[in-house]
């Protein structure tokens, strides 16, 4: 018998009872570092930073820009490097507190809901938006630890606007109540 074999063979030789729980690897990872068995991080966001931007055609009184990249956390972090005048003489850099709130907001989104894309106005307002087959939604982070939210259900045409929403201590149920329309990931398989 060849000495080279897989670990599975070791397991098969151990006489494990058939009623033992299957060994799916569901160990929770601490931190964003890759698991010990993960050796080749070959795929990273294809567009990091704010260079890949385009104008958004949404109804708004401010000239918003958005990024085509979906690596939302990296892009929000890159916003912190901006200084006043980043988009013309009157443009303003975002407040780091707003960026932190946006990062916390994104990290709290339940995994059933897709991640949003970041946006930043020349006046320094940090925002997030979704533009899917099912809904359009945007979130703006204001200076007073509050946010405003707009969501339009594309299937029904129903719109909701939430103002003065506290950013802290958002429960997953709250995300579903507000952004549940976005959670339809069956569209992925279409």
């Amino acid at each position: 018998m060849e000495p080279l074999t897989t670990f599975a063979l070791l397991v098969s030789l151990a006489g494990i009872p058939t009623t033992l729980k299957p060994t799916w690897n569901t160990e929770r990872s601490n931190g964003t570092s890759i698991a010990p068995s993960t050796l080749i991080p070959s795929y990273v966001a294809d567009a990091v930073g704010i260079s890949a931007t385009k104008n958004l055609s949404i109804d708004s009184t401010v000239n918003l820009i958005g990024s085509e990249s979906l690596d939302v956390l990296n892009i929000l972090s890159s916003y912190a490097d901006l200084v006043d005048g980043w988009d013309g003489v009157d443009s303003v850099a975002p407040q780091w507190q707003d960026l932190e709130r946006a990062v916390g907001f994104v990290q709290g989104i339940p995994s059933s809901i897709p991640l949003p894309r970041p946006m930043l106005s020349p006046s320094g307002i940090v925002g997030l938006f979704w533009d899917t087959e099912f809904a359009y939604s945007d979130v703006h982070f204001d200076d007073d630890n509050k946010m405003s939210i707009f969501i339009r259900n594309r299937q029904t045409g129903v719109e909701h606007f939430y103002d003065e929403v506290a950013v802290e201590n958002l429960h997953p149920d709250w995300y579903f109540e507000v952004f549940g329309t976005l959670a339809n990931s069956y569209a992925l398989a279409a």
């Binding site: 000495p3 080279l4 074999t5 897989t6 670990f7 063979l9 070791l10 009872p17 058939t18 009623t19 033992l20 729980k21 299957p22 799916w24 690897n25 569901t26 929770r28 990872s29 601490n30 931190g31 964003t32 890759i34 698991a35 068995s37 993960t38 050796l39 080749i40 991080p41 070959s42 795929y43 990273v44 966001a45 979906l70 690596d71 939302v72 956390l73 916390g104 994104v106 990290q107 709290g108 989104i109 339940p110 995994s111 059933s112 897709p114 991640l115 899917t132 429960h171 997953p172 149920d173 995300y175 579903f176 549940g180 959670a183 339809n184 990931s185 069956y186 569209a187 992925l188 398989a189």
Partner: protein, 271 residues
């Protein structure tokens, strides 16, 4: 014993993490693993990071000391799709290995949206997988945690676990010390399709950062009499039906294990 001092891990429910799994016979080819990895752009709105895992081979010698790990740098062991969560943790992930696909949820909220999202992810990755393999088993796993925030002297397990429940040894309920009780059994089932179901209910009393905690791992794996193939009609709907049945089985098991008062704390009482 005041059950107000027993805290489910997520406030209104005790699910710390849960996972959906699908298994097939044998192992996927390298070509299919690459095809799965190529799906990363489609999954990116939910899982922005896709990581290739390396296949690790173990060299087993005949004598002690002759065992060593041999790495094959060209072979893919799995593809892990991740999304960020709170406090630097992974919020959720999907792992496609050579023999199964697992969707892990670390921020469980409600059954329906979590199931629907998992089915969406399965719908994406099963397309290339079914080109090569047929699905043999569908599975579901929960980890529930309750933390006791009072003196151990005031902890009475008979107020947490139902007296006479079929899954624990009666000896355990009278203990004050740490204990575990792991139980697995097979059930022949016809719901929703003919299958042989493996149920596991593993209860561990553990110390968690100075507090006593009750950890309940429940897993259910339905091995189907007729594998689901690419040509199977509505294979996704069948998988979803099986997952719904496994969820119902899980609920009944926990209702039989836990007292009514604890069930009420986690909204596990039938209405």
């Amino acid at each position: 014993m005041n059950l107000d001092n027993l805290y489910p891990s997520s406030g209104n429910h005790a699910v710390q993490s849960m996972a959906f799994a699908i298994e097939w016979q044998g192992e996927l080819s390298e070509k299919t693993m690459h095809a799965v990895h190529a799906l990363a752009p489609i999954l990116k709105p939910h899982y922005p990071t896709a990581v290739l895992q390396k296949l690790v081979m173990v060299n087993v010698g005949a004598n002690p000391g002759q065992t060593s790990v041999v790495s094959n740098t060209d072979a893919i062991g799995g593809v892990q799709f991740q999304r960020p969560g709170k406090f630097g943790q992974v919020g959720g992930m999907m792992v496609v290995s050579r023999s199964n696909v697992l969707v892990q949820v670390n921020d469980y909220t409600r059954w329906k949206p979590v199931l629907e999202s998992a089915m969406g992810f399965f719908g994406v990755v099963l397309k290339p997988i079914l080109e090569e393999k047929s699905i043999s088993a569908v599975a579901l796993q929960y980890v529930d945690i309750f933390t006791w925030k009072d003196s151990i002297a005031n902890l009475d397990y008979s107020k947490i676990f139902r007296l006479g429940n079929p899954y624990l040894s009666p000896n355990a309920l009278a203990l004050k010390s740490l204990w575990h009780s792991h139980h697995g059994f097979i059930v022949e089932s016809t719901v929703p399709v003919l299958n042989t179901r493996l149920d596991n209910i593993n209860v561990d009393i553990i110390e968690n950062q100075g507090d006593r905690a009750v950890q309940i791992l429940t897993s259910h794996r339905a091995t189907m009499a007729e594998p689901l193939r690419k040509a199977s009609d509505n294979y996704l709907q069948t998988i979803e039906s099986v997952e719904n049945e496994l969820h119902a089985v899980n609920k009944k098991m926990l209702q039989a294990l836990l007292t009514d008062e604890v069930c009420r704390k986690i909204d596990l009482i039938d209405k």
